[in-house]
Amino acid sequence: MSREKFTANSFSATLKSKYPVTQSGVQGNILTLTVDTGTYATLATYLKEQGFTRCLTVSAIDWLDDNEFEVYYLVHHLKNNIYTKVATRIPRKKPEIPSLATVWDTAALHEREVWELFGITAVGNPMLKPLFLEDWTGKPPLRKDFNWRDYVQKEYYKAKEG
């Protein structure tokens, strides 16, 4: 593990010289990056090596109008107190993303949640099974095209006794 001291700004410059970063921004100690799907996992390994040992979350955003999912992970460098968020876009038609379970332990659980709530498969994650929902029959609920009002009407308000 690198014990080097760096700031979000200097680290952002280092990353840009090493990896194809399409978009980046620094706000205080928070560094946000957008990369392509190929770099998504390799960058994760590099970040871990650089001391980003805490994985806070892996999550997603459904950009329905662009027909894309944005998948991102948020990691923290404890010693330098820098947060880095790395995002990538994948097509909605093929919701697959390489798993980070081998890099960070907790990523596996977060990917399990993303799989359940967004229907995005983390390829290589051994844990993909329902986490919160039991006997769920609808679409992945956090997708923007999940017609939840209809679902609630049908499942709860109109459910008959029996």
Binding site: Q27, G28, N29, I30, T32, T53, R54, C55, L56, T57, S59, I61, D62, L74, L78, N81, Y83, K85, W104, D105, T106, L109, H110, L117, P130, L131, F132, L133, E134, D135, G138, P141, L142, F146, W148, R149, Y151, V152, E155, Y156, Y157, A159, E161, G162
Partner: protein, 670 residues
């Protein structure tokens, strides 16, 4: 020996001091700022419909009344208290103060329809009337009424206000009530708040296991109508469809007093011969039946036993971990969350940025204040709004009070998990005083909803610093009692020392945060690492410990209570003058309940009672968020670290480790 003497001295001191139990029915008015049933003044109403538009729960309906000089449309509000969560958006936004709050919390009934209050009913100031005690029908009925045993099943967030009845402050044992682990011994089931399908299956099973006669009390709005989660994809909207409910208590959550009144009503009814509604359950054509062995897919090896810890267990909370045991020793553990999944991230996409403030504290009932703080922080960051300094200080005071009560809750659970119930009674009794002060400050005990975009909703009353000072000196004294009874107690030390040791590396790898992380020796606290609000001015000394075992996790929290008291004291000393909230955005637009937030994304971190809490908000320039991601502090701790800690420990130590991590199932389930 000296330890025993010290503990005995503490107990003697307690026995000689003023009783901690509040009188019941309450003889003094409740806290003055309590947000209770609304009062409607028809002559001030303009019929403008704002209250019904702003209500996030659709509790207010406008009904046609007589047109008049002031009220040109003739529309008047009718409030459905099956839905109202007393957030106060209607009162805040009413342009003429036609709607105001009263201190009256007693809204309970056997027929939920009677909780719909017409404008005429709302215009009458509320009054508490106790029913005449009925003639006692028989000795059996009398005996039955004075020995109600309640199933210990913490289903949802309203349970937080049933908890004071266990404590010395409300003391349910004076009514003969006892919490019992097994449904087969119980008389009453309390459904505490929202019910997800996963929980409902267990509730139905528990209900059918209970012997006759049995009674069901439903707390809060959610079992009646879905309450705050009226549009959630994963909560039941009317539990009456599945099991018969005898008493419904409205509120979100109801205060402990109405729960007491409900119990008194129940006792009187039982004395009069009432034996509950006829038993009848519906599983919705088998949909709501508990699946067999939900997690234990593989057959256990010879000599091993599979066991499910929770969700209905006296020490589990509404969470479940399945264990494989070899004799008494755990060989495998797997967490099974989701009993409290309400789909917050979806709900927030359909409420305006400001309406969401009343929603977010409900993510984690034990520490709701942190969530509203973090959420308003992230929205302010997106919009570029700066909170005035006085507002920042008041937010700090609220957050620290909330941290104290959260840690007290946890220390109480720590006592409960080690079989030391005295501690539960004492600490939770003290916690009630903190909650009352929080109510003085914010208007509610549990879901404060004190924050708004731009600051806090109101200033403190002039006597608040004095009241806070009294509480601080009281709690400082009490901390020594906790030391004597818990931290110097040999039994407690034996049960918790060297148990469930988390090493620094494990903590980092499993995303353990908060006091649990600091107990391993890592000095990471967002309040000092990335100071937010006024924490830099006020200064924070972060307590740490080095061993990382269950004992030191509790000890860290006890030290944090001390530090939080110091922070509150310093904050009150330095409290600057000025406005408490910003009213305009940097662009000069007014901050309203349906304001639009500029396009962009923001991340905001705060230190909640359980650790680092992160909100990620995405705006597309609308008045509702495009998405909000909540990363709660217990997700990694409970779902990733906890099962790993269990390998090799004895079954009896599972609850001890579990509570030492300060879990909140509602937080990781969302």
């Amino acid at each position: 020996m000296s330890r025993i003497l010290k503990a005995a001295k503490s107990l003697l001191g307690l026995a000689l001091s003023k009783p901690m139990t509040f009188n019941f029915p309450p003889d003094a008015p409740l806290t003055e700022r309590h947000r209770g049933r609304q009062l409607y003044k028809p002559d001030l109403c303009k019929g403008c419909k704002i209250c019904s538009m702003v209500c996030p729960n659709n509790a207010i309906e406008m009904v046609q009344g007589e047109k008049s000089e002031t009220n040109k449309t003739g529309l008047q509000p009718q409030i459905d208290f099956r839905k109202c969560c007393f957030c106060g958006l209607c009162v805040d936004n009413c342009p003429t103060e036609a709607l105001t709050f009263t201190m009256y919390p007693f809204l309970l009934t056997m027929k939920p329809e009677t909780l719909i209050y017409t404008p005429e009913m709302l215009a009458v100031p509320p009054e508490l009337a106790h029913p005449e005690p009925p003639k006692i029908k028989s000795t059996v009925a009398w005996a039955r009424s004075r020995s109600i045993w309640i199933v210990n099943y913490m289903t949802g967030c309203c349970f937080i206000e049933a908890v004071p009845w266990v404590a010395s402050s409300f003391d349910m044992e004076r009514f003969g009530l006892v919490a019992v682990g097994s449904p087969r011994h119980a008389d009453a089931l309390i459904v505490g708040g929202y019910v997800t399908p996963k929980t409902l299956k267990r509730i139905i099973r528990i209900y059918s296991l209970m012997p006759q006669p049995k009674w069901v009390i439903a707390l809060g709005n959610c079992p009646m109508t879905g309450g705050t989660y009226w549009d959630s994809y994963n909560t039941i909207k009317n539990i009456g469809k599945y099991i018969p409910v005898d008493i419904w208590i409205a509120g979100c959550p109801p205060r402990p007093e109405p729960i007491g009144v409900a119990v008194v009503h129940a006792i009187q009814a039982i004395q009069g011969g009432y034996t509950g509604k006829p038993e009848k359950t519906s599983t919705d054509k088998g949909k709501m039946r508990v699946p067999r062995y939900p997690l234990l897919a593989a057959k256990p090896k010879e000599g091993q036993v599979d066991m499910v810890f929770g969700s209905q267990h006296s020490a589990s909370g509404n969470f479940n971990v399945s264990l494989t045991l070899d004799g008494e020793t755990v060989v495998h553990a797997e967490a099974n969350p989701g009993y409290l999944h309400r789909g917050f991230e979806k709900l927030m996409e359909y409420r305006t940025w400001v309406q969401n403030i009343m929603l977010v504290p409900r993510i984690c009932v034990l520490d709701g204040a942190s969530y509203e703080l973090a959420y308003s922080g992230v929205v302010e960051k997106l919009a570029g709004i700066k909170v005035p300094r006085r507002g920042q200080y008041l937010r700090v005071i609220q957050a620290e009070l909330a941290r104290i009560q959260s840690h007290q809750m946890n220390l109480g659970f720590g006592g409960a998990a080690t079989g030391f119930d005295t501690m539960v009674r004492i600490i939770w009794g003290d916690r009630d005083h903190v909650l009352l002060l929080l109510e003085e400050l914010t208007g509610a005990r549990v879901y404060n909803i004190f924050n708004t975009i731009g600051g806090v909703r109101r200033d403190i009353q002039p006597d608040f610093p004095e009241k806070a000072g009294k509480l601080i000196s009281y709690l400082r004294k009490r901390l020594h009692v906790y030391d004597d009874l818990l931290f110097h107690n040999k039994t407690f030390i034996d049960r918790t020392r060297d148990l469930g040791i988390v090493s620094p590396d494990m903590a980092i790898a499993n995303d353990v945060t908060g006091p649990n992380l600091r107990a391993t020796g890592i000095d990471f606290d967002v309040r000092t690492a990335t100071p937010y609000l006024a924490y830099k001015d006020i200064g924070v000394q972060v307590p740490t410990a080095t061993q990382g075992d269950a004992y030191h996790r509790y000890l860290c929290r006890r030290r944090e209570i001390e530090e939080s008291l110091n922070i509150i004291e310093r904050a009150l000393d330095k409290l600057p003058r000025g406005p408490v909230a910003e009213t305009k955005t940097p662009e000069g637009r007014k901050i309203t309940w349906r304001m639009k937030i500029p396009e962009g994304q923001a991340l905001y971190f705060i230190e909640g009672g359980r650790g680092e809490l992160c909100f990620h908000a995405i705006s597309t320039g609308e008045n509702t968020p495009y998405r909000v991601k909540v990363r709660g502090p217990t997700f990694g701790t409970i779902l990733s670290q906890f099962p790993k800690l269990l390998r090799g420990v004895k079954m009896a130590d599972v609850p001890v480790i579990y509570w030492s991590l300060d879990q909140c199932p509602a937080d990781h389930d969302r």
